[in-house]
Amino acid sequence: MTTVIFPGRFESLEKISKFVKKAARNAGLGEDAVYGVELAVDEACSNIIEHAYQGENVGDIECTCEVTVSGIKIVICDNGQPFDPGQVPKPDLSSPVEERKKGGLGLFYIDQMMDEARFEFTPGKNKLIMIKHK
């Protein structure tokens, strides 16, 4: 189990990506699954900076990777604004692209790419726990 704390800015996304890709490969995931993990983590961390911290350099992102028997468990923590994922509308995936509203694909990609993904909010701490099987 490895934990790394990254400064909450967009420049960190590439470093976070390298960290989780390495862990996912160590966990024995195939390249498609590794890409899925990279995408989910990137969307999650980008959301933390944009929505939880509402700006760059406001707080940190703590990222923990744990190789398990079945694959990898990734936990991402921040101490920005909590939110209610149940209140977020589902994205429009069927209208002609021209008519769709920009945004709203990040949480969908997280759900699609991971085998499990759930948020836990405790006072002062927001946690996203994600699991991807081999």
Binding site: E31, E38, D42, E43, S46, G106
Partner: protein
């Protein structure tokens, strides 16, 4: 990350290397906007060295496609990684871009 633009007679080729994420997407958008503002509306996005594209990157492509189409042009993609293509399919955007395997074929399509 590097972005280069090459001008041809009927289209411009924009080539980017590395990741298109929230950090780099604005630079790509700037480049695309500069091409469209220069009056060109046919763009080839050479993705042969793009290894990651997040939803922010995808929106840059859809915004650019809209701007091109508004001026009767088109954005086409080249050598899009299979994993990135799957992420387009997942959100119902698999058909929104013509994707070529070969840069010459893409340029030659205009």
């Amino acid at each position: 990350m590097e972005i280069t633009t090459t001008q041809y007679n009927r289209c411009d080729v924009v080539k980017m290397t590395g990741r298109v994420d929230t950090y780099t997407a604005p630079k790509l958008q700037e480049t695309m906007d500069a091409v469209v503002e220069s009056g060109k509306n046919n763009i080839v996005f050479d993705m042969s060295e793009v290894d990651f594209l997040s939803s922010k990157g995808l929106w840059v492509l859809t915004e650019t496609q809209k701007k091109c189409k508004k001026q009767r042009g088109k954005l086409v993609l080249v050598n899009t990684d299979e994993k990135i293509r799957k992420s387009f399919d997942l959100v119902g955007m698999g058909d929104y871009f013509d994707i070529f395997d070969d840069l010459t074929a893409a340029v030659g399509s205009f």
